[in-house]
Symmetry: D2
Subunit: 377 residues, 4 copies
């Protein structure tokens, strides 16, 4: 693991996600660029001292120097955005598989370069767009793909948060500090942090691509250096339209990412607060409540649950689904076999490049006086 020292949030989540199914063992880490901090985290996690490093370069070099059977197979990179590209590139080039926190890189240019590196390396990369790991999000995608709703006509996707309603970066909030800092986060704040999740969810569930957008991007809290709120009108590849809303100043909201997709015959609705439920509404018959863990859901939903219906699974399990599916694919690659299609269904390099394109396009549109901006990659 690279990053994820004390005080970090997402590193701990990655460790739980990796541990949950017993398919990963954490054996090495460069948890901080401060050698002492990295060492302390290693002690806390019970790692062998000689596998705790003070830089990602050192981790990659030393692990590569170990016999194949004793080195790490997969490197998880859980650093802030500006520290994604270099370690991911180096890891891939040295033969390691990579799990990378989103968004993929600091800029679209980096993302496209990383795409080439990954392709050349023959190694696998998983980008942790957690929400697509939920079983009922997968069910939604399958329903749309099977044209159960008919042609998609309208999509609403939203990610409202309230935690940046105050000037948190002015206090001792490490999470707020880097996310609102252009030097560490990139050109976008809210749009990069959660707008990309909404964007990814939209493209994942619908199987469509955004082709044009028109954005209203705002920085609401005084003194803040990046956007903390935005709404976007979108045109999709089949000619339909969509709305994307993401805000970090929606005071009182937690993380209720939600998507609604309307087709010719009906619509579906999923939201994280009730993650194990997918509601499907029809033009002329009763609505359906589909539930995770039941016998009637698709193989993609079933593959991504661990408990019978009614025992709620949540965010950590969705995260763990990415880890598990990636592990199955890595194992298959190493074994020279084909993983099941359900396992292949994890977010990777292609999603990462489109996410970075979204960030750059949406910020450009926010600044533009033209109504529509073409979505360029």
């Amino acid at each position: 693991m690279i990053g994820g020292g004390q005080g970090a949030f997402i590193g701990g989540i990655h460790r739980i996600a990796a541990a949950l199914d017993g398919m990963y063992e954490l054996t090495a880490g460069a948890f901080s660029s401060d050698a002492e901090k990295s060492r302390a985290t290693g002690v806390l996690l019970g790692l062998a001292p000689d596998r705790v490093y003070s830089s990602f370069q050192e981790l990659i070099a030393q692990e590569k120097a170990r016999p194949a059977a004793e080195r790490v197979q997969v490197i998880a990179i859980v650093t802030p955005n500006y520290l994604h590209f270099e370690p991911a590139k180096l890891a891939l080039e040295n033969g390691f598989h990579v799990i990378l926190d989103k968004p993929m890189t600091f800029s679209l240019a980096e993302a496209k370069q990383l795409e080439q590196v990954a392709a050349a390396s023959g190694r696998l990369l998983c980008l942790t767009h957690t929400y697509t790991g939920y079983p009922m999000v997968k069910e939604a995608r399958q329903l749309v793909a099977a044209a159960t709703l008919g042609t998609v006509r309208k999509v609403y996707v939203e990610y409202p948060q309230g935690w940046l309603s105050n000037f948190e970066e002015g206090s001792d909030n490490k999470q707020a500090a880097w996310r609102t800092d252009p030097a560490r986060s990139g050109v976008a704040g809210a749009m990069g942090d959660i707008g990309t999740h909404a964007f990814n969810l939209l493209e994942y569930v619908t199987g469509l691509q955004v082709v044009k957008l028109c954005a209203d991007i705002n920085t609401v809290v005084g003194g803040r250096r990046l956007d903390d709120d935005g709404a976007v009108l979108l045109k999709l590849s089949n000619g339909s339209s969509a709305v994307l809303m993401a805000s970090q100043i929606a005071a009182g909201e937690e993380n209720n990412v939600k998507i609604r997709v309307y087709g010719e015959k009906g619509g579906l609705e999923w939201q994280q607060v009730d993650a194990n439920t997918l509601r499907v509404n029809w033009l002329d018959k009763p609505s359906e409540i589909r539930r995770a863990g039941t016998g009637y859901v698709s193989s993609f939903a079933r593959h991504n649950t661990r408990t019978p219906a009614g025992h709620p699974e949540g965010y950590l399990e969705a995260f763990a689904n990415l880890y598990r599916n990636f592990a199955l694919c890595v194992q298959a690659q190493e074994a020279g076999t084909l993983p099941p299609p359900e396992a292949l269904d994890y977010p990777g390099v292609a999603e990462g490049v489109r996410g970075m394109a979204f960030i750059e396009n949406v910020i450009a549109s926010g600044k533009s006086t033209e109504k529509w901006t073409d979505f360029s990659v």
Copy 2:
């Protein structure tokens, strides 16, 4: 009553709303321009035959000719949009108070003219934007007005319907036929029919005005002559921003009009499907569920309920609240007294003019390649 013959939808609703509190008695009507149909409706409603007319002109002339104590006091106009202006004008000019279905007129020009007529007449006009009649919508407005949430920063308002997902106007659907006909509905379809409700709800709850907008207006169903879907980015008078979504092709949706308002300290959420509940979320304490009919709500909410908490009141009661409040204001005017502030809180001419301005501005923005259109009245 003018309009509301057999086959009409909203006329029946108006009659229930008027009857519910026993403050109105239906005594005269021109229910259809077809004399026979008007007569038949009169029979069905038990009206005296000599009070059933075959045109609004006849109704107004004949009723005016009756002794003051025996003529109608208030005329409800429940015709399609293109038949709002003339009867409303004539009624006001002849000394009758008017209850008018929304949107106020066929065009903004008519609306502004009617505004002058109403002012000159000294008579009162109520425009039936039903949703502001709900007690918990009134509670929301009071909370925002009292700055309980701090300054408003973001608003989401939406009105998704699915009933025009097919080409209903091609079949025998009278409601669909006139609403999708430019000659009877005006320049807008969905934006006029339900977009205006969402717009009115936004301005009512926040006490703010829309100053700019950027609209994506769509006609999704083939052959349709007016918009059936749209989404709008908005700038509000205090510098904040909003999103408005209205669709009649959101397949499977009923009429779940919903508003969310976020301020500095918290946010509130109301939706018609759970109309007796107002949820208030805070940055740093438990969310509140405020309920209609309880002892702790504002006088505005209390004034607009009839039953103790837990006995749901709905759409007809919200509609009846407009009728009752208007009756109280008419009675007060006739008595030369002041109505209570809670009764004065009904939508009228000013809201009607802004609603028509919304329709024209939003359609213009939809056609524009410029990003932002100033909201002009």
Copy 3:
């Protein structure tokens, strides 16, 4: 109307329910045994002074003395329980149809006597068990009757309220005073006031009868003279079992009456707080959300709604459904025709007798040390 003077709650509700569909006109009343109070209420309601009476005997005698076309047809009795039997009996015996608030009488003996009076009179009697007026309760009954769920195996029905959590009868609460007074309410408090509603709902929805019961009846608030809480184990006529819970000291609860019925193949759930929804769960397929006002519901549900799906109807509309259905049956009887089956579906004498039997049996069981008490009528 008999009863329903100022300060009364249910009288006002009856008046709204009667007015809502324009099928009743309130023309006479004995609103209080205090002549002055009765007169004052009559003025407030705009009644002719000579139709406002100071006793039910006077009302019945005087109205009967009027020409048939000018007298009241239906008498609504909205007094406390101890004043149900005498006026109902007198009204029926004198040829008036009766609408009577629940429970039917003060005692089971009275109820059985009234049953005979009603049968002999040839007049109709409607007992206002409001909850069976909800369209989705009717839908539930139809689903069970059609064996959609298979044989019924288990029922849970509950009516939790919190409004008697304090010793309200010690203060100026007129509603609490008579409901907790054995001389006016009868042998039961909560069990009579709301337990009967739950009991009626159970027998209505399932089409089954209670045959045995085992009750835990409690008076929780100090100084109270009747029960304010109870729970009952029940055996039903098909051999299945049920649980009934009713409480007036469930602090913080409003009036969320709720029923769940489980059959061999699935279960259904309805609750007043979401009255326009009926949820049906299945053993092996997605749950269904059935909604009032849609095209797919049964004729019984459809007959009892006034607005398209998504415009919530509530308690007053459910109450009005009883009034409307009763009016249709009275009209049919007068016309010598048959009312539609949907109109015949209102609670009457039979339900009233069983309700009174429930009250006496449940109180007896509460006092018994025997486990099971046979349900005797």
Copy 4:
């Protein structure tokens, strides 16, 4: 681990719960009494072959024979009920801490004996009553303990399931087979499997004890040998009353265990389907929605979450909370220190004995013709 071979359900859950926080490492197991099956499971889980045993006796003997630093510290027993007592007793007597699936034993007599063994051993025992591991259940207990609601007056607790609606034990359903077999499950079916969970939840949240009960116990499905449904009236140690409902033939229900507690000033409600929410209703002010992961919850709730508010945690996390808290207590004991009170809050021997007493008392009451049965231990 003892038990938990292939085909078992709860064994896998225990392994995830143990892995989630990285505080346990699975190193040894007797997964089946069939040596070959045990071995196969060991291979699947990546255990060293010499740590996979074919009986619990062998596991305990061999592990004890290892040097202290190399033997297992905690033994998880995840076998059917009839195989709880012997291995738990042996493990405790040989110095191992024990995690035991519920209910604690096959009979109350065994439970009381195990209580003595545990006390004498000085070792710790955790009984996996999962639902008390949820953070908002802990919040509920804290609120009641702090008398925030005033004295408890009424409790409703329920656990409806539908999975045994058919004669599953007649087909190849291993889970159904042992749970409906008196020789493996004990005197109770549903009451032992899920009734004990409801009972434990009631006593945990309220801090009260059941002192009397009156049960209606049913076997609904033909051919079944143990109860599959029941409802119980209860008297609690402070004089208040309660209702407990548990069913496995509530067709269409998943696992929505739910508890409602009413005090003098307000009531609270928690249910597994919305596990991260605790609703608190008040007599005279807005209801509160308390959410897991927020800053305002008690230290007990906070201690048992891993993610910020809005990222749902579920059943596996609740299970993992038991494991984590137990690990903290084991570590503290080994270190000779005191664990934090939040960690001590896990279900143990005392809860196990009461659970077994519930099973025997409730079945006895079900057979009795007396109304009330004293709760005897």
